[in-house]
Amino acid sequence: MNDSASLQIQQLVELLAVVSSLTDEASALQGAAERAAQALEAEVAVVVLGGRVKASIGFPLGAVPDEEVLAVARHERDKLDVPGLGVCAATAAAWAGTHPGHLVLARWADERFSVEERNLVRGMARVLELTLTMQRTLRAEHEMRERLEERQRLLEHLFDIQRAISRRRPLQQILETVTHAAQDLFGDEVVGLWLRDPADPGRAKLKAFEGLRGELAKRLPALAMADAGEAGEAMRLDAVVSRDGGVSAVLARRAGRPLHASLAAPVHDSGAVTGSLLVASGQPNRTYSAADEQMLQAFAEHVSLALTDANTVDRMYQAFHDSLTGLAGRSLFLERMTQQFASAHTDGEQVALLFVDLDLFKAVNDTLGHAAGDQVLMIAAERIKSQLRVGDLAGRFGGDEFAVMLSQVRGVAEAEGVAERICAALRLPMAVAGQQVAVDASIGVAIGAPGQTDPAALMRAADIAMYHAKRAGRGRHEVYAEAMALAFGPTTAA
């Protein structure tokens, strides 16, 4: 092989090495132009792709004569006027395929390109075509792999959110899990979750966020829908809203940077629009694809799930609890007692029931009003609860009647101890309506017999004992005894 042929092969190999070592297309094209110029010792090389100049060397920066170069590419001319050199011999080679292009070279005037050199340029164009095709294929595969990985991460995030919902984590914590996951997956600077203000459903309040200045965002008042930007729009339209440019200034101020694009999806509670989830980016060229919309909707639907579930739990709680004191209502109390009886009594441990009736409560109501009465009931409920152990349960059956279930007591004395402590706690003065109010309590104590399965009988027994306590002078407790029942007439008590 002569030097010239081996030099040409060397040049092709070097071009291949340069182009394939540069992973982004712009660098690869620039590298190819410069390598081609070096190989032919040309002062000018230009890569044209899709009819536009994509890389060049040899013209002053920003002064490529596009039309003249394209004319050489089309073989309409074989000379180029190059600043600093004058009219130069030019040659070009084309490639076809999905992304057709041209490699154009120009060299100092008296140096025309030989047949071998034009052949080399054609070879270089071919190498460039193959390398670009390969790089694009690899890039497409890479992007597909990235999409799959993104899908996987989405599933993992959604699984985490679902687990948080099913384990009934606090709602705020679940919402923050969602905003955090959305930021991780979208890679955007800002995520915000807006919910209707319970006090004014016409306004929306920022409930959870990422990428905003904490204190500024927390102090943000509930906004009218029209002022909440894309988030408000998504709620008004009950649809996904995408915006390139002009993102509402409300968020940008709190993000401390300009925001250029946003995407918002509505969230629902029991089917009704109740808020929206928004992502926003400070990147000037950020746009959102259909896949992005789907992803945000998936997050928004999980917010809906969490809200609906939390409200269902809330409603169930309200159904079973006394709304004033938060203590168990009668039905929940009875259910829990039945459960307690059903679980076997072992090692001589028994269930005890205390019936607590406030003394002189009516007088408080009559003299200080119902609001004060309610306050007394709330304080009493707290004081009763404070005397209980884990596993015990306090309930309010209406008016000034409270009940306490002690789940595992070893005999009457232990139950009486609790009754005494409750009496003592309730006897302490209460600060109500600017006055010190004193109430007392009469407590009936009943112990479940081994094998007993009916909570109603025990309740009746405790009730009877409580009346005895009241009759015996108030502010005290009595333990149920058979004789008490006889005094009340026929009974089913144990």
Binding site: S6, L7, Q10, E41, E43, G58, L61, A63, P83
Partner: protein
């Protein structure tokens, strides 16, 4: 254009004497200063400012100074450019390592500030210990294209290899490039030549990277290179002996218009059996072992001067900047560099000339590359 020089060891005295001799007119616009590394850069700048207040200075440290009267070591040579026919602009790019191309592009930015005279050249002086100097030149070319000739050299430090300096913007810099645009009403011409001959058959670079050649023809590059040149035994085992042997024997890299010399004597790896010099050698490239002697190198000196002067289009030269390679001194010896100086003086025909022995030469003449090793580069002004 005027040139003045001094070998006074006292920096202030040397600078004053050189400036006094160089400034022949009343309107100096630029001082180009080449000084031995024994002269402190700060002291030199201060003395130059004292001798020629307000005149911009570009310059660098050397491995020997070139000018009328023969080459010197330990001297200062000052070129003063001025008069109504010239305009200049200067600039400095700092922190060059790692962003060589950007630095070259930045330096090229000063060309636009030198006005609209028809002829321009960009003088670039680089810190000689910066690697990948080709990228600095490429960066300048990417901005200017072929419109402006690129010329210059890499500062040297008298073979100490501890740090050269460049001067520009009134300060002393390391890891920097200084640029000076020379704009003229009359032609400026750049030329370059080396005096090396190919030895034996070509070798293919089968592994290279990071300014090193690992294998030639799939064998350890160090051994292939030394075998090809019939090197003495100690060059295979002793770094100093290798350097002595390889310095006057560059590796030739095939280009379309000829063979480029690459100095690979400075970074030998005796364990890995590779050779290097901080210049890019392309994988797959066709290379030759090369050698030369005083006669071939002096013939190149003649040819470079002739080419540059011919580039003036028949106009008489006002002066020349002549930069030669520090490594050539190893071949030429003390006597040889005196002969080289005499050749330069002959071609100058009485007009001033100045230059220095560099760690790399810059002259873009053909194609897009312009960084050379073991080569003489000449800028002729008219």
């Amino acid at each position: 254009m005027g040139v003045g020089r001094s070998v006074d060891a006292d920096t202030r005295a040397a600078a004053q004497a050189a400036v006094a001799e160089a400034v022949v007119g009343t309107e100096p616009k630029l001082l180009v200063v080449f000084a031995a590394i024994t002269h402190d850069g700060e002291a030199l700048l201060a003395a130059l400012e004292e001798a020629a207040p307000g005149v911009p200075v570009v310059g660098c440290s050397t491995h020997g100074e070139i000018g009328p009267g023969g080459p010197t070591d330990g001297g200062v040579v000052v070129t003063a450019l001025g008069g109504p026919g010239f305009a200049v602009s200067t600039t400095v790019a700092e922190n060059v390592s790692g962003r060589q191309r950007d630095a070259g592009a930045a330096v090229a930015g000063c060309v636009a500030e030198a006005g609209s005279r028809p002829y321009k050249a960009l003088l670039m002086l680089t810190d000689g210990l910066v690697r990948d100097q080709e990228s600095i030149v490429r960066g300048a070319y990417s901005v200017l294209g072929a419109t402006v000739p690129l010329f210059g050299g890499a500062a040297a430090d008298g073979w100490r290899m501890t740090g050269s300096y460049v001067l520009g913007g009134g300060r002393v810099h390391r890891d920097a490039v200084v640029g000076a645009t020379i704009a003229s009403e009359a032609p400026l011409a750049v030329a370059m030549r080396h005096g090396w001959r190919k030895v034996g058959e070509p070798m293919i670079v089968t592994s290279s990277g990071n300014g090193r050649v690992y294998t030639l023809d799939d064998r350890p590059a160090l051994d292939v290179f030394l075998d090809r040149l019939g090197a003495p035994a100690d060059a295979y085992t002793d770094p100093e002996a290798f350097k002595r042997f390889a310095l006057p024997r560059p590796l030739g890299v095939q280009r379309r218009s000829g063979v480029e010399a690459r100095n690979l004597s400075t970074e030998v790896d005796l364990e890995g059996r590779s050779i290097g010099g901080g210049v890019a050698i392309d994988h797959g490239g066709l290379t030759w072992a090369m050698d030369g002697d005083t006669d071939t190198i002096l013939a190149a000196t003649d040819a470079a001067c002739q080419d540059a002067l011919a580039g003036l289009g028949g106009r008489p030269p006002l002066g020349m900047l002549t930069l030669s390679c520090a490594a050539l001194r190893a071949v030429l010896g003390d006597d040889g560099i005196q002969r080289e100086g005499a050749r330069l003086e002959k071609w100058a025909e009485g007009v001033p000339f100045a230059g220095f022995y560099t760690y790399g030469e810059i002259a873009r003449v053909r194609g897009i590359d312009g960084f050379h090793n073991q080569t003489l580069v000449v800028l002729a002004l008219s």
